[in-house]
């Protein structure tokens, strides 16, 4: 009897074909890029107060520096900004950033808990954060809404920062807001 006529041959053929397909699918999974999967910046979206909260506002230009390293800018000069990424300090449980909207500046104080996270053998460790407190001045920023507490390697937006709508003639009232 030829092999292909032996009992169970059809089953074995299906078995091996499926084995191969599944194995190939498994083996062809995309390699991880370390810079992407260890990135853990806090992501801020800008919105106009009183406008659609699903649509970003565009800030003409700004720069950012931290209070701890004021001589080293986080972002030197950015234009047409809708989303801002800020690096939380992995060595401490708090840090503060000054956002210069030219010429008005606001300060953002952030407190958080840190969790060391092993990402992969090749990429090593990164730090994940859980936001526990946000304080800010109200010179240009009207309000801040927290949308996601956990700052990890996903592309989530963590904070919505509301700024005045010039079309409504909104003028910010200088002050301080804390949470």
């Amino acid at each position: 009897m030829a092999f292909h006529n032996k009992p169970g041959f059809a089953f074995r053929r299906i078995f091996f074909v499926l084995s191969g397909i599944i194995f190939l699918c498994w083996a062809c999974q995309e390699d991880e890029i370390c810079e992407d999967i260890t990135a853990n910046d806090l992501r801020i979206g800008f919105y106009r107060i009183g406008q659609d909260h699903d649509q970003w506002a565009v800030v003409d230009s700004l720069r950012v520096f931290s209070l701890e390293q004021a001589d080293i800018p986080v972002h030197e000069h950015l234009t047409s900004v809708s989303v801002l990424e800020l690096p939380l300090n992995p060595a401490t449980d708090n840090c503060a950033f000054v956002i210069d909207f030219y010429p008005i500046t606001d300060t953002l104080w952030l407190t958080y808990q840190r969790e060391t996270q092993f990402i992969s053998v090749e990429c090593g460790f990164t730090m994940f954060f859980e936001l526990t407190g946000i304080n800010h001045t109200n010179n240009h920023i009207v309000a801040i809404e927290e949308t996601t507490t956990y700052v990890t390697n996903t592309l989530d937006e963590h904070l919505k920062v509301f700024i005045p709508d010039p079309g409504n003639g909104d003028e910010p009232q200088p002050g301080f807001t804390g949470k």
Partner: protein
């Protein structure tokens, strides 16, 4: 489908059935070690056909991870256990009594100790941050369901693969560090997982 299944069962009742124990070795652990030499897990299994087309299976394994890189050192060691039933949905055809398509359910448990004596997290703005995590114990419980195919090559030697979806039920919450890999479950970071296993088995017939 249920009717044809029950008819198949009746037609094949006792066809090719003899009580047996099958011992298996999961070779996917060896394959993984080729790609990632730092991660080692070894697993053996035992299944018994206690009733026609109904099996009970136990799978046990050891996990050993030792990673040493310029930016980190991570070590983990532990064991895991899975227990549950299999049901052969193919019935048993008289001409091929040892071809099996199994639906599987498992309860899994894993325990490990892990530590990271050296961690360097590079940060382009704040500078490199060096830390360490002392040795700590971690345990996890999960359930899994899946499908597997087994076929006899001859002389009671079987090969098979299984695809399992997993759902984490409980893990050590106060852990300072999530383990990189839970033995028997897979990579952490999510409550669900999917694992592919390849096995070689030897069947020990009772009679």
């Amino acid at each position: 489908m249920v009717m044809s299944l029950s008819q198949g069962l009746r037609a094949n009742n006792d066809a090719g059935y003899s009580p047996s124990v099958r011992v298996g070795l999961d070779v996917s652990g060896f394959a993984r070690q080729l790609v990632e030499p730092e991660t080692m897990f070894r697993e053996i299994s035992l299944d018994v056909e206690w009733k026609y087309n109904h099996f009970v299976a136990v799978e046990a394994g050891l996990l050993d991870i030792d990673v040493q890189k310029q930016t980190h050192r991570y070590m983990a060691g532990g064991y895991y256990l899975r227990l549950g039933p299999d049901f052969n949905v193919l019935g048993r055809k008289p001409e091929a009594p040892n071809d099996l398509v199994l639906l599987s359910l498992r309860y899994g448990f894993s325990k490990l100790d892990h530590e990271a004596p050296f961690i360097l997290i590079p940060d382009p703005y704040w500078g490199d941050f060096q830390t360490a995590v002392d040795s700590e114990s971690y345990s996890a419980h999960w359930i899994e369901a899946g499908i597997s195919l087994k076929t006899e090559l001859g002389y009671n030697v079987f090969i098979g693969w299984s695809l399992r979806g997993k759902l984490l039920l409980y893990n050590t919450r106060e852990a300072e560090m999530e383990p990189y890999f839970i033995g028997g479950f897979g990579k952490t970071g999510r409550n669900t997982g999917l694992m592919l296993h390849y096995h070689i088995y030897y069947r020990i017939p009772f009679r």
